[in-house]
């Protein structure tokens, strides 16, 4: 029974719901920082981003004693800390597979760049697109060039924006290049080996969820 149990970073796994909230806290803090707020108690931050105060404290306490008793959390300090925890204190290279409409739209979205993510290239199998670039100047490569680009640009994340029937093959190739984080926009389930993180953004699934809500007599429910 040891007494000195330091709240060292990551001694136990962090629930994904917690990490999603960290991003939300960070956005609130950005606003507060811009508004010149220096410190804020969990209760006020909670009201600001619509969650329970105790939950914020528990979430943050996982990463050390970030707060100050009697005061709350120093905005600038916590902001810096969260950015570091989320890996936003450095830039991350991202590739998009599929230079169709969705892939091109995502490549041109400035929100990613502002957040530390650089879309360094798109990939496609359409010969008429290969060698070109999007309207924003992001080059479009042949899918076969993926390993070389991933290696050269130290790509950490791949975004999948290809038709459903090509998605699994693309994922396999991406994983084969050593990419361990994938954001998938295509519908349907994809398999990835252990150690690779796959996050799905399935718009069709979301529409069906809304359709169910409408079909089953709109009962007031929580939003997501």
């Amino acid at each position: 029974m040891s007494d000195a149990w330091k709240r060292a970073p990551l001694d136990e796994p962090i629930p994904e719901l917690t990490t999603a909230r960290l991003s939300i806290y960070l956005r609130c803090l950005d606003q507060l920082h811009a508004a010149g707020v220096e410190a804020i108690p969990s209760s006020a931050l909670a009201r600001h981003c619509g969650v329970n105060g105790a939950l914020i404290r528990k979430d943050l306490a996982r990463f050390g004693e970030l707060g100050v008793r009697g005061v709350g959390y120093y905005v600038a300090h916590l902001r810096r800390h969260l950015r570091q925890i989320l890996g936003l204190d450095r830039r991350t290279a991202v590739v998009i597979i599929g230079a169709g409409r969705l892939g091109s739209a995502l490549a041109g979205y400035g929100g990613f760049r502002d957040d530390g993510f650089d879309v360094v290239a798109l990939f496609d199998t359409d010969a008429s697109k290969i060698g070109g670039a999007t309207r924003d100047g992001v080059p479009i490569h042949a899918l076969d060039d993926l390993p070389a680009v991933v290696d050269r640009a130290a790509v950490a994340i791949a975004i999948i924006a290809v038709p459903a029937d090509a998605a699994q093959d693309v994922v396999d190739r991406v994983v084969g290049c050593g990419v361990r984080a994938i954001l998938n926009f295509s519908p349907g389930a994809l398999r990835v080996p252990a150690g690779v993180k796959l996050k799905n953004m399935d718009a069709t699934l979301a529409l069906e969820t809304l359709s169910f809500f409408l079909a089953s007599g709109p009962t007031p429910g929580k939003d997501t």
Copy 2:
């Protein structure tokens, strides 16, 4: 198979996680149906879509006794039933607010139509776009015409694809037109009144989650 299915205990609310899984089950069933499978036990369906068999039985049992003991579930029958539960047995009119790159890309995505969702119009405030149409022939209206179109086409779902700083205002207008289901692609939290279902598809949030995974020593975890 008898049509004498009992009206399920819909007296208690259905968890959203359950409804998301219903969509997944349905997709599996579509494949099985195409493959000519007539009936399938929960254990096999479970393996097929990567969840626990008991969970499938619990999910489905909420809507009545859909299975047959000793046999499993009849594919065609269950498929029809799930489509009805999810409200996919009829077509649903959808509008997209924001005729930028993302909005246009979504308007042209055939997957929605195949699933029963018709994108009937886009809306924008850019005068140079208003009165035109997307490459797929979907008309682009002025945002001020929203109430008229929603009314005329019986629009049930709105997709938000506008910049973050315009999102809340757009949502308020959409809700004001009587639309009670919203799919939001813009980052940040939005407020909707009770009785309106809001579903967020925040790509930046997803990228940050992946970034956290990469930053905190990729521990093998479940995918989403």
